[in-house]
């Protein structure tokens, strides 16, 4: 049980770290997708099947595609691939320091806290139960999320769309 | 309504599917090795050497090793070596013959230029195409024995063209014989007292049959007066006259 978790953690953290270190953006994106898949594996390990499949469907299936499209549509010119100037190296150093400090504080907090021993099996949650919960107790939130998603979709389309006039010969 | 076209299309292909089992006329496929296709009359591929007689192909080749085709061949796939001696040809005239005549079919592009330039109708286009071999150098190099095919075979594969060529050849032969007879008669009739002028007057004449075939096939093979035929046609008579 714990061995599986550690393996998943290695996959998850390793690919995430590698993704943040790679210079090649496509490699970064693909490694990040591997890390998202690792998160899904964690959910499966924890017994949250539904969330795991939703994670794969949305992150690996949809968001990854948007990311890859964005990477390919914003081709880097060679100037941008020059070695980093001192300012940005400074920034990188600061960022990593901040992250390490955060990690240290959080780890210390986690390790010093006591939790009640957990149940041996995952809480039984059927898909139907999730659906009923979503529709009843969280109905309002569901509606709001729906509106957010619709607005986001429309907004993204409008932002990314070009202003070019449609030529008459483009019509079918 | 949207989709009606799709249904119509599906019906057409379904009809094809069922029909392909019941109506052999629908099928255009010819199952080739078992069921050879009939090649069209004008199909031509790789040259062969015409011999007059099937029983003695090497002895009756029309080729006189003039090497025109060897020189004209664009990819230079023809190799000819002249013989040292002479043999009588179909007309009974003493001629050279090819001691070596080879065509490298891996190089040959079947352009038919050798056929067009041959003054003796000795090389013609064949109809073979199944010449696949395991050795691409030796097996695809055809020598004199492999190239020689009798005139009857030529009649078989290109009947119309062969008949035309034969007709022309016999006509030429007859003309040559008549001329020979005429010269013989003239020789016999001429007074012995004036041999020199008579010789000089007759001398160009026996040469003319030899020149004539050189021009004639060209005019016949490329009958279009516009391209190539006319300058050569003009050149021929000018030389002979």
């Amino acid at each position: 049980m714990t061995t599986a978790l550690i393996l998943i953690a290695i996959l998850l953290l390793g690919s995430a770290a590698a993704a943040m270190l790679r210079r090649n953006l496509i490699h970064s994106a693909l490694l990040l997708i591997a890390s998202w898949a690792g998160v899904a594996a964690f959910y499966l390990w924890a017994g949250a099947e539904f969330v795991a499949f939703a994670q794969v469907l949305i992150y690996v299936g949809a968001i990854s595609m948007v990311v890859l499209f964005a990477v390919l549509l914003t081709r880097q010119n060679p100037v941008a691939e020059l070695p980093a100037e001192p300012a940005s190296r400074m920034r990188a150093l600061t960022g990593i320091t901040v992250a390490v400090c955060t990690a240290a504080i959080l780890s210390a907090a986690i390790l010093s806290s006591k939790f009640t021993p957990a149940a041996d099996t995952a809480p039984q949650t059927s898909v139907k139960q999730i659906g009923l919960e979503l529709m009843h107790r969280h109905g309002t939130a569901l509606l709001i999320v729906g509106v957010i998603l619709t607005v986001a979709l429309l907004g993204a389309t409008i932002l990314a769309a070009t202003d070019a006039k449609e030529k008459p010969e483009d019509r079918p | 309504m949207l989709g009606s076209g799709i249904i119509k299309g599906l019906a057409v292909t379904a009809k094809n599917f069922v029909g392909s089992y019941y109506d052999p006329a629908r099928m255009t496929t010819v199952e080739y090795p078992e069921q050879p296709t009939v090649l069209p009359e004008n199909y031509r591929n790789f040259p062969f050497l015409v011999s007059e007689n099937a029983t003695d192909p090497m002895g009756t080749l029309r080729c006189v090793a003039c090497q025109i085709c060897e020189k004209e061949c664009p990819p230079q796939c023809i190799i000819i070596e002249k013989s040292k001696d002479k043999k009588p040809d179909a007309n009974g005239k003493m001629q050279l013959y090819p001691a070596v005549f080879g065509i490298d079919t891996s190089v040959c592009m079947s352009c038919q230029i050798c056929v067009e330039v041959c003054p003796f109708d000795a090389i013609k286009m064949d109809k073979v195409f199944e010449i696949a071999a395991t050795d691409r150098f030796l097996d695809l190099y055809l020598n004199r024995e492999q190239l020689a095919k009798p005139n009857t075979y030529y009649h078989q594969i290109h009947p119309e063209e062969a008949a035309e060529v034969d007709g022309r050849l016999t006509a030429d032969r007859k003309a040559a014989e008549e001329k020979a007879k005429a010269t013989a008669a003239a020789k016999a009739a001429a007074p012995v007292a004036a041999p020199k002028p008579a010789d000089s007057a007759v001398a160009p004449k026996p040469a003319s049959p030899a020149v004539k075939p050189q021009d004639e096939p060209r005019r016949l093979v490329s009958p279009k007066p516009g391209e190539g035929g006319s300058p050569l046609g003009e050149g021929g008579p000018a030389k002979s006259s």
Partner: protein
């Protein structure tokens, strides 16, 4: 150390990798992806507490994660559309070059 501790440590690690990426990299897409990683770390915590934490209303943690994933999807779509819009204006997506709000 209980499994819950381990899960929380893993999510801390993921969060900090995301944080480091978001702060240190100058490529806007990578910054956005770093933020995505941080969101994922939070989701990891929700599931860890749902599984190992004290009893809660059924499926609470899962529903939190589902909403979080939905919002993350919206965020990614809008963020990447913004990146493409920025790219169209200044022909690169370096964070430090995007200093003007006016196109």
């Amino acid at each position: 150390m209980t499994p819950l501790h381990l899960c929380l440590l893993i999510s801390t690690g993921l969060f900090c990798i995301g944080l480091a990426g978001a702060l240190a990299r100058s490529n806007t897409i990578l910054v956005l992806l770093g933020i995505e990683l941080m969101l994922n770390a939070a989701n990891l915590n929700f599931i860890a507490f749902w599984r190992f934490g004290p009893p809660s209303p059924p499926a609470n943690g899962m529903i939190f994660v589902l909403f979080s994933i939905a919002v993350a999807a919206a965020e990614a779509a809008v963020g990447l559309a913004l990146i493409i819009a920025v790219y169209r204006h200044q022909n690169n997506i370096r964070l430090q070059d995007a200093t003007r709000l006016k196109g």
